[in-house]
């Protein structure tokens, strides 16, 4: 290494493509994120439900193996574990819950330290835009959360297809689509909300707390509004109902009866009165994403705006 060259010299070498530079932020962030042992352990735990689900799907297709493991059990002759919309919704709900904790561990450390330590001028005085900055930080959460939400669903779908045959693969392709889109939508929503809260609340623990507060406090207000005004629109403030409604609309796109069943199940949750129309849930998710981007746009500047 040419550390003996201690004079200033211009750089005249090649440059990397601009459109992929956002990934540099993600690359450096990954290595920092996994320095935390707590996060690594929790991240590994996040795969446990998936491993259990994969094992269950495998064993349900290998009754002989199951019978050898449990010789005295009375095994039914019908399908042991139906891999259908309800199965995916159940697993997605578990993974989504885990993903909130992962986001709370990672998200607050992404933007707030840069704001606290006035690092933004260092980024934005380079050929590196605010959009690239947000994209870089967003990709950290998007990749890590997709690995524990969308990827397991696809894995299960692939395993089930391999075991059940190509006809199952074709007949249930909508499950793969719904679980992929539903998971990615959830990941996008939670990542953007987390980045926005990290930009506005500079103290990391407070930013992590705010993420949970954003799930519980508006839900409480929404439930109160539902009770007082005898309506269902307050459920739009309930994150679980909101994303659940969106997922239902994806999984039961061709099954109105199934959708009604799933919506009924959602509406029976505590703090909920009646169910939401699917379009309103989609609109609310879009509005939350847009609001998070707007908040980021207002906060991420290379200089303090003195008014």
């Amino acid at each position: 290494m040419a550390v003996h060259r201690r004079g200033y010299r211009r750089y005249d070498g090649s440059l990397t493509p601009e459109r992929w530079r956002f990934w540099i932020l993600a690359r450096y962030a990954f290595s920092r994120v996994f320095q935390s042992r707590l996060l690594v352990i929790f991240y590994v735990i996040c795969f446990v439900p998936t491993v259990l689900a994969l094992s269950a799907v495998y064993l349900s297709h290998n009754v002989d193996l199951l019978a050898s493991m449990f010789p005295h059990a009375q095994l039914p002759s019908t399908e042991l574990l139906p891999v259908n919309a309800e199965f995916f919704l159940f697993l997605m709900a578990i993974q989504a819950t885990l993903s909130v904790f992962v986001t709370a561990l990672i998200g607050p450390g992404l933007v707030s330290p840069d704001l606290t330590n006035n690092a933004l001028p260092l980024f934005f005085s380079r050929p590196f835009s605010r959009a690239q900055y947000v994209l870089g930080k967003f990709s950290v959460l998007f990749v890590l959360l997709s690995l524990i939400t969308a990827a397991p669903m696809l894995l299960i779908y692939v395993l089930k297809s391999a075991l059940a045959g190509s006809q199952w693969f074709i007949d249930n392709i909508h499950l793969a689509f719904a679980s992929l889109v539903g998971s990615l939508l959830w990941v996008m929503l939670i990542s953007l909300v987390s980045l926005a809260s990290s930009a506005w609340v500079r103290w990391r623990p407070a930013a992590a707390g705010m993420l949970f507060a954003l799930f519980f406090i508006p839900a409480g207000f929404g439930a109160a509004a539902n009770e007082i005004m005898r309506m269902t629109w307050g459920s739009l403030l309930n994150g679980t109902v909101l994303i659940g409604t969106v997922w239902n609309s994806l999984f039961f796109i061709n099954d109105p009866a199934g959708y009604a069943r799933a919506a009924d199940a959602l509406s029976e949750m505590p703090d909920t009165v009646g169910f939401l129309p699917a379009w309103s849930a989609w609109l609310m998710v879009a509005a939350l994403c847009a609001a998070s981007l707007l908040l980021l746009n207002r906060k991420l500047r290379a200089h303090e705006v003195v008014r």
């Binding site: 290494m1 004079g7 001028p121 200089h303």
Partner: protein, 332 residues
Amino acid sequence: MNRFSEQATASARVPLLRKETGNAAPAIELDNLSVSFNGRPILKDLNGAFSGRAIGLLGPNGAGKSTLIQTLLGFHPPTKGAARVLGMDVRSQIREIRHAIGYMPENDSFITGMTGIRMVRMMAELSGLPPADALERAHETLFQLGLGEARYRNVGTYSLGMKQMAKLAVAVVHGPGMLILDEPTNGLDADGRKRMLEIIREIRDSHDTQIILCSHLLRDVEECCDEVMILKDGMLVTHCNLEAERRTNRKFIQMETRGDTGVFLNRIEQLGCELAVNGNRRLKMVLPEAVETRDLYRIASETGVQIRRLDFKRDSLQDIFLKAMEESNGRP
């Protein structure tokens, strides 16, 4: 095949740098530049072209120095008029400008949880350097700036002086054609300040980059810059070429002598010098272009006069600054 071989090179991105083209595109051109925040004018109709190797940006607090710098970096859009950096327009070519410059902000700026080497390397990569080049230059830069031993330490644990150096490292690591330094000696002790100014002069003298030095410390600017612009209340009150000023001052001499000065004075007048005698032994004179101080020593030797003291006039930057402030106070 090298994965970067198809990419543009750094110099191709900055075609207007004088070193490459020989083109004397000014470092900064201001054309009726005005900047307002919420309708409040901060910079008012700035005009001028600045071509020095190191340009000092002086002014009292609130004069608009930092706003001007941030406008050149594209952080604030001009409300009126135009500004060009290295011939590139700040409105339409801001990405190219940011490729060509390195910026050292005034306030503490660093990334937590990163070692010095990682931070500097990441910034080099964000400027477009391939990872291997970025790593090499990060090591070189940190060694050059005296942070070689501390490069694997977390930047958050650096002292104030080290943080200033780390900021400078981030500004220069990608080898920019222009360096914008905002109060680089802020908070440094005497040794740190001396070291910082030495480095700035070294970079200036490398002829590989132009420097814009924003400071409220006249001595910093005087020691490093050859051109100065003085701002007050958002207006450009003075623009002077310090180098030319120094050359002029070198021709204005004050002298104290011993011995009979009659013949000496005659001989000096014959050289074309303008003379003023103050008392018997104190002389003030302006030398013509062709006359050097060694001619005075020669004549003194030939006429048996002792030169006990010889001073050049020192019309320091402080005088220029104060004059500019007084003149601007008299403006309507």
